[in-house]
Symmetry: C2
Subunit: 295 residues, 2 copies
């Protein structure tokens, strides 16, 4: 799997370099919020979503600098969602990516503001001339990310997740939760470069199927890891789902059926990629990585 | 002042109608966050920023539907900022616009998510084809709002405001705080329609001066109202600045000098509008309203 892991590292480095450019520390009292934004983004996490954007960009010959801006916006939104999810009023998590969460490292107010500013900044990056020379494409990417990250996407999923902590969800509701909460941003990450490069409808649809499969797989393996994973390896508090009697794929399907479902989705994801031939090898490795991950 | 007050009501009604279109309640468990978004926006507040957008749109013959979308995005961002500002970890306010704040009416987690979703949704509205037929203008509006609402604008100002609760700020720092926290969104509200209608540099600069003046005036009169205003009329908790020994224009300049400064800014705002002749009468009334407001 060296190709995939190398590309993850390359994505992380490219986004970090761009984050340095977009998040300079100002010489005034507002510096604190920028420090928190940097703490939550630079060098943080696997940059899996950024990898998807950069890899699909290569498949469609989208200029690398365009893709890096899209990937940076994506990672800003992902980081904002983690900061807010970790807040005491939400999941109340104290560890993330192997270090204290933003509200622990700074304070709650600064964490709320850093999340707000990262979300806002993501749209500034997407709308920037360097992201695409065609203004209507820039606007399209903004609309797409806003739709997938907002009430109809990620935030809607987070709302359902919170409700699910207090009432039992059925499989259909868990799938909707996942489709919005985790799936929506993976949908953006899997298709944004193709949209920016004006890919064909057939190509876009293949990537959408791939995104749906890996989104579900991602959540199922997340639920499995919460039960069988090792806290130090995963880098966050585990076993929380059971403590909070949360409805998950594992609690509804059981461990074996959840694993089987993830494997079936892996097969479907590979099939969707067949129209791209060898060009999609990194995406294939990514799907296998999700299936087999232990962190 | 009937012209100005009538136009405020017209702006409120136009934005409310558009919010109904953009915020339908979904038939699934995510409905709760949309209900909170509607609670915090529809029928709430004077719609002063929306008025500025609709009024300047008329000055430059921008199609009304374009302007209503821009105004709706603006009010979404304004409402999100109030929801998050009112949170226990921030200003900890329980009343806003004469009713319980969003986290009191719903709960803290839902309030955080409703703010996040309104901010996100604002960019979806701005990037929508109905906002402007020219994609590069849509992208420009997105970039402008993101810049003014984020770390370099409103959120940066909110950060300085929080720091100002713990340390004394000098006049220069209070002006920077205000310029970012209140001024940045008023800058967007005063200039967005002109940008969308491709106004001349001279026209844009005149509106920027106007925006700077009314932004400062707005904050100064806000600080004055906190000392001399009536809670029931203003519709929120007053006297908080003194209780929290916060640095404000009144605490640094004194009541009389603060009033004088606001009056001088009113004169400057009127002068900036001279190039527009009678077309800017509603903007003139708006500036006088800010000077004389008691809520």
């Amino acid at each position: 799997m060296s190709n995939f892991k190398d590309q993850l590292k390359i994505a992380r480095a490219a986004v970090d370099q761009n984050l340095e450019k977009w998040l300079p520390i100002p010489d005034n009292l507002s510096a604190r919020v920028v420090e928190a934004m940097r703490y939550a983004t630079i060098g943080g996490g696997k940059a899996f979503r950024a990898f998807l954007i950069l890899t699909t960009a290569k498949m469609f010959d989208l200029p690398e600098q365009n893709a890096i801006n899209i990937a940076t916006a994506m990672e800003m939104v992902h980081a904002y969602s983690l900061i807010h999810d970790d807040l005491p009023a939400m999941d109340n998590d104290t560890m993330r990516r192997g270090k204290p969460t933003t509200h622990i490292q700074f304070d709650e107010a600064t964490a709320i503001l850093a999340g707000d500013a990262l979300l806002t900044n993501a749209f500034e990056v997407l709308a920037d001339e360097a992201t695409n020379k065609d203004g209507s494409i820039r606007a399209k990417l903004v609309k797409m990310l806003a739709h997938l990250a907002g009430k109809d996407g990620m935030v809607g999923g987070q709302m359902i997740d919170l409700i699910g902590e207090k009432q039992t969800l059925n499989l259909e509701q868990i799938e909707m939760l996942q489709d919005k909460k985790t799936g929506a941003l993976l949908m953006f990450a899997s298709t944004a470069s193709a949209v920016a490069a004006k890919a064909t409808e057939e190509q876009l649809n293949a990537l959408k199927t791939y995104a749906k499969c890996i989104g579900l797989m991602f959540q199922i393996t997340d639920d499995i890891l919460d039960v069988v994973g090792d806290s130090a390896t995963v880098g966050k508090t585990l076993g929380k789902d059971k403590t909070e009697t949360k409805s998950t794929f594992v609690s509804v399907l059981g461990l074996d059926a959840a694993r089987k479902k993830a494997e079936d989705l892996g097969v479907e994801a590979e099939q969707a990629l067949s129209i791209f031939g060898d060009k999609a090898n990194a995406l294939r490795e990514a799907a296998r990585f999700i299936l087999e991950r232990n962190y």
